[in-house]
Amino acid sequence: MADKGSWKDGITNSQVWKSVFRHGDPGKDRRNQALVVLSNVFLHLHPVQARKSGLRMSFTWCMGGITFFLFLVETLTGILLMFYYRPVAEYAYNDIVALREHVPLGIMREIHRWGAHAMVVTVWLHMFRVFMTGSYKPPREFNWNVGVILLLLTLLLSFTGYLLPWDQLAIWAITVGSNMARATPFLGHEGPGAALLKLGDIKLIHAGADVRFALLGGRFVAAPALMRFYVLHCIAIPLAAAVLMAVHFWRIRRDGGISGPM
C-alpha cells in the first residue's frame, strides 16, 4: 500500500500540499468530507450535510447553480472583452469587428453573448422551479424577493450589454426599449400627468429632462448612452448582483437549506 501510493502520498504529504489543504483525502472518510467543505471558502457556501430530497437534480434541476455558473462565465469572458473594447462611439463598433477578425481564438464574444441569453432562460426556469415546489413559502419569502431583484438585474445586465456592439441591432433595440420610459406617468415627457408638473409656466418634465433623458444622458441613444450603459453593464449592475447573490446563498442556509416537505 505504502509503496503503491507512494508518488501520490509523496505529493499529499508534502509541506506545500498540506499548507493548502488542511484536511485528509475526502474520498476516504466522513470527517474529511466535512472538513473539505468547512475549510474551503468557496465550498463553504454549502452546508456539510443536506436533505437527500433537496440534493436531487429532479428537485432543483440545478437551475440556480447553473445560473450562478453562467454568471461566473460572463464575468470571466466579460473581463477578457474589456481588454479590447472601448466604449466610445468612434471605436466601439470597430473594436467588436477586431474581436472577430484579429483576436486569436476569437470566440469570447460568442461565449459572452450566448451565455447571457442562456442565463436569462435559466433564471426563468429557476424561478419556475422555486414556484412549482412552493419554496417561496415561509420561511423563504425574503429569499424569493432577493431572487426577484436578481431576476431584474439579470435582465438589466442583458439589456445594457445589448447596446455595446454599437451596431444597428444594438441602438435600435435600445431605442425601442428606452422609448417606453418616455411614457412613464408623471416622469416621462409623454407620460400621463407629466404636464401637471410645472412651476408657474415652466414645465419641469420635457424631452430634455425626464427619466429617459436620465437613462440615456441625452434625447437619443448616442455616445453618452453608450458610456452610461457601459458603466452600468461592467460595474454597477454586476456588483449589485454579486452582493445580492451572496445574500441569496447565505439566506438559503439560514432558512434551513433547500426546501423539503416538513
Partner: protein, 359 residues
C-alpha cells in the same frame, strides 16, 4: 405541402393563437393525469419536433428562426415545454400518493441527510462542465450577430426590443407605452414580490403538487406561459415590418397593408349609437369609458368577494385580498382588452390624448 403551409398561415393570427393556446392550457391542466403520461408526452414531443422539422424546409421560416439571436429562443421553447411537463408530471404523481395516504417523492427522503461532498459538489461540478461544453460548442458553431454600424438616421423595420422584452412590445398592440412599457412591468415585478405574502396556503411547501395549490399554480402558469412566453414567441417569430402579423411561412414584406379600422369607445357611443357627434370637452366625451373603467376596478372586487372568491376573501383578509385584486384585475384587463380589440376593433376605452392618458 404548400396547401398545408397556406392553411397554417391562414390560421395564424393573434386571436386564434392566444385563444387556442389558452384553451389548450386549461385542458392540459384539467386532464393533466392523462396528458402528462410519458407516452402521451412523447407524442406531443414528436408533434413539436415534427412541426419544427417540417417548417425548417420552408425558406421564410428558416430565415427568421436561424437569425443568431433567435436560436436561443427555439432552445428555450423546448426547455420550458420540458420543465413544465416534468413539474406537472411530478405533481400528478405526488398528488396520487397523497390521496392514497402515502408520502410524496420528496417526503420519502426528506429526513435523510447526505454529505454535500461528494453528493452535491460533484453534481455541481458535472453540471458546470456540461453547460460549459454546450456553451463552447454553441459558440463555435454560431457567430454572434453584428450588423451595420449604428446609424441613427436609418431605422430598421421592424425595430425590435431585445427578445426577453418582446412580450411587452407585443402588449403595445393593445395598450399605450405608459401601460405596456411602464405600468405592466412594474405590476409584474411587484406581483412577483407579493406572491409569498398573498399566498397564505401553508400546503405544498417544498414538494411538487397541483391539487393542493390549484389557484396559485394555474394563475402563475397562465401568466408565465401564455402572457409572457407565448407573447415573446409571437413577437419574435410572427411580428414583421410595421409590427404586422405574419404566418410562420409568410414572407416578411414591408408592403403588407393592414387596414387600421380601430375605433374608440367614445366614437362607438356618440357617433354610432347616439348619433350626436363627439362632445367638445374631453370629460364629457370620455365619461362612458371612465365610468366603465372605474366600475371595473371598484366594483368587480366586491362582486368576486361575494361570489367565486368568497372563500379566498375570508381566508386572505381584506388587505391581502385588495393586493390580489390590484394584480389580478390588470391581468384580466389585458385579456379583456384583447378580446374587445379582436371582436369590435376597439382602440381605446378612455382616450384623452390631451393628457397622454389613453387606456
Amino acid at each position: 405541402m404548400q396547401q398545408l403551409k397556406d392553411l397554417i398561415n391562414g390560421f395564424s393570427s393573434p386571436q386564434l393563437i392566444i385563444t387556442g393556446a389558452s384553451i389548450f392550457f386549461f385542458l392540459y391542466l384539467y386532464f393533466r393525469k392523462f396528458l402528462t403520461e410519458p407516452s402521451v408526452s412523447l407524442f406531443f414531443l414528436t408533434l413539436l419536433v415534427g412541426f419544427f422539422a417540417f417548417s425548417m424546409t420552408d425558406a421564410n421560416f428558416r430565415e427568421i428562426v436561424l437569425k443568431p439571436d433567435n436560436v436561443p429562443i427555439v432552445a428555450m421553447i423546448y426547455l420550458i415545454a420540458f420543465f413544465t411537463w416534468f413539474s406537472l408530471r411530478r405533481a400528478v404523481e405526488n398528488d396520487e400518493a397523497i390521496t392514497k395516504g402515502g408520502s410524496t417523492f420528496e417526503g420519502k427522503e426528506s429526513d435523510q441527510k447526505l454529505y454535500t461532498w461528494p453528493n452535491l459538489i460533484y453534481q455541481e461540478f458535472i453540471c458546470s462542465i456540461l453547460v460549459g461544453v454546450v456553451l463552447l460548442i454553441w459558440s463555435i458553431l454560431l457567430k454572434a450577430p453584428l450588423e451595420e454600424p449604428a446609424d441613427p438616421s436609418i431605422s430598421p423595420n421592424p425595430s425590435k426590443a431585445p427578445w426577453y422584452f418582446l412580450g411587452l412590445q407585443e402588449m403595445l398592440v393593445y395598450f399605450d407605452p405608459w401601460l405596456a412599457g411602464v405600468v405592466f412591468p412594474t405590476l409584474i415585478l411587484f406581483g412577483l414580490m407579493a406572491i409569498p405574502y398573498i399566498d397564505k396556503n401553508p400546503k405544498g411547501n417544498g414538494y411538487f403538487t397541483f391539487v393542493e395549490r390549484r389557484f396559485a399554480i394555474t394563475l402563475f402558469l397562465y401568466g408565465w406561459l401564455i402572457m409572457w412566453v407565448l407573447l415573446i414567441i409571437m413577437g419574435t417569430f410572427l411580428r414583421g415590418p410595421n409590427w404586422n402579423f405574419f404566418g410562420p411561412y409568410e414572407k416578411w414584406s414591408v408592403h403588407k397593408v393592414v387596414p387600421l379600422v380601430n375605433v374608440n369607445l367614445s366614437e362607438f357611443v356618440y357617433v354610432k349609437w347616439l348619433n350626436t357627434g363627439l362632445p367638445k370637452h374631453w370629460f364629457l366625451r370620455e365619461i362612458f369609458g371612465i365610468v366603465a373603467t372605474v366600475l371595473y376596478f371598484a366594483v368587480t372586487p366586491f362582486i368576486l368577494a361575494k361570489t367565486v372568491l368568497k372563500r379566498m376573501y375570508i381566508q386572505l383578509g381584506i388587505f391581502r385580498y385588495a393586493i390580489l385584486m390590484i394584480l389580478l384585475l390588470p391581468m384580466i384587463g389585458l385579456l379583456l382588452k384583447m378580446l374587445l380589440r379582436w371582436s369590435f376593433n376597439l382602440k381605446y376605452i378612455i382616450a384623452i390624448p390631451e393628457y397622454f392618458l389613453n387606456v
